[in-house]
């Protein structure tokens, strides 16, 4: 029995997460790092609903980020779509119900997303006065860890929300 997931609910969750990211998450910064709810959701949709949903979530999340950020336009669309694709492709090979798998997948996806972002930004903008180790220890690792820790609390809520124990299938 496949449970169809409403596409509107999928978008509402992404937009709500985006608003929280835009308006509230700076208040819970620890040592300058804040969790990335959008990366967390892209990985969630990718591992539970497949690569297609991962890319779709990545595209929407990336577009929202690019529209409201001063980041290079398109960078987040491409990187989050790729994150969704890769997490979705890895998902069938892993035991996705395990909390450890979910934690590691969110952590690794976030680290890779930010490292590729660093190199792509350096290539496009040419000059950067901040080195990769500075970024790695000052921003990438703390915020990826923060995001992965948050996934331990949010994934069970989302799993319950989408009734995923019934083998839900996205659209």
């Amino acid at each position: 029995m496949h449970n169809k997931v409403n596409r509107y609910s999928f978008y509402i969750v992404l937009i709500a997460a985006f608003l929280i990211q835009l308006l509230l998450l700076d208040r819970i910064k620890i040592a300058g790092a804040k969790p990335d709810l959008l990366v967390l959701l892209v990985v969630f949709f990718a591992i539970f609903f497949g690569s297609g949903a991962g890319i779709e979530a990545g595209f929407i999340a990336g577009l929202l980020k690019d529209l409201y950020s001063l980041d290079i336009f398109g960078m987040n669309i491409i990187l989050l779509s790729l994150t969704g694709l890769i997490a979705g492709m890895l998902s069938p090979k892993l035991f996705r119900e395990s909390k450890l798998t979910q934690f590691l997948l969110v952590f690794v996806s976030s680290v890779l997303y930010m490292i590729i972002h660093y190199f792509a930004s350096s290539l496009i903008l040419k000059i950067t006065y901040v080195t990769l180790p500075e970024y790695l220890y000052g921003l990438i690792l703390p915020s990826s860890l923060y995001t992965a820790l948050l996934s331990l609390f949010l994934f069970p809520v989302l799993i319950k929300r989408y009734h995923l124990k019934d083998n839900a299938e996205y659209l």
Binding site: G32, D36, S51, I55, L64, L67, L70, F73, I78, V130
Partner: protein, 259 residues
């Protein structure tokens, strides 16, 4: 077979996304400004709503205790807390107004209505745009020091790049020894001063202010305090890590300097 077909479709979808992005990037700037502008009133109301929740939360325990003691007293306490929050707002805005009168520049006050959703860049969305006189490259300050610079301006909203963003560069002076350097953002909510000469005696605790070179930042605005001074191997200059004079993630009002 079907699985393989799905994978190919997914990879193709990413390529289509890439092509779309490349096509959109030239028009992106104006689209981005227009979208931020259109959603500014909505963001402002969401911001006020979340702000109200934030103000009431610290008093929740007190209210609960009062509710147990007497329902009526509880109600009055809540009213008192709301009045206190309004008074706090009033005091903060009065402080901003006094500061505005005190500084030697003409400025436009603005409210922060949003923040950068990415972990990568550090910026603020403010509720004033070109219709209020905001222009790109205006310096943004608060009562406690430099905040950043206006980068994008719409009609009703603008985006300011913060001093903690690595893309922002500011000419600075160390107040004690008048030695200069370039300030740029650094991860972890800190800033980094580069190009400090090797013979500089800069040390932790030194106050840093804007040097006033160029036409963006007026001279003498406090930025923060040096936390650490160091030297990278093989470099001819020292660097310093600076702690901004305020917590930029909790700013609520700013002033945009007209000059």
């Amino acid at each position: 077979m079907r699985n393989k077909k799905n994978k190919i479709i997914n990879i193709l979808a990413v390529f289509v996304a890439v092509i779309l992005v490349v096509l959109m990037s030239s028009a992106a700037r104006s689209v981005r400004i227009n979208i931020t502008d259109t959603s500014a009133p909505l963001l402002k109301s969401f911001h006020s709503f979340f702000g109200l929740i934030g103000k009431l939360t610290p008093f929740a325990a007190l209210k609960e205790e009062n509710r147990i003691l007497r329902d009526r007293v509880g109600l009055l306490t809540r009213l008192a807390e709301e009045t206190k929050a309004i008074n706090d707002d009033n005091a903060r805005l009065r402080n901003l107004l006094d500061f505005r009168k005190m500084i030697p520049y003409t400025s436009i006050p603005a409210q922060v209505i949003g923040r950068d959703p990415s972990n990568w860049s550090n910026s603020l969305i403010i509720d004033k745009g070109s219709s209020s006189g905001i222009k790109t490259n205006m310096a943004v300050i608060s009562t406690r020091g430099l905040v950043g610079r206006i980068i994008e301006t719409g009609k009703l909203s603008s985006k300011a790049l913060l001093i903690t963003d690595p893309d922002l560069k500011v000419g600075v002076l160390i107040r004690r020894n008048r030695q200069g350097g370039i300030l740029t953002g650094s991860p972890g909510g800190r800033c980094k001063i580069i190009y400090i000469s090797l013979d500089s005696d800069a040390r932790p605790g030194d106050k840093v202010m804007t040097a006033g070179f160029g036409s963006v930042f007026p001279k003498g605005i406090l930025i923060g305090e040096i936390e650490k001074v160091g030297r990278d191997q093989g470099r001819l200059y020292k660097y310093a890590i600076l702690k901004p004079s305020q917590d930029l993630s909790r700013l609520e009002e700013v002033l945009c300097i007209i000059r």
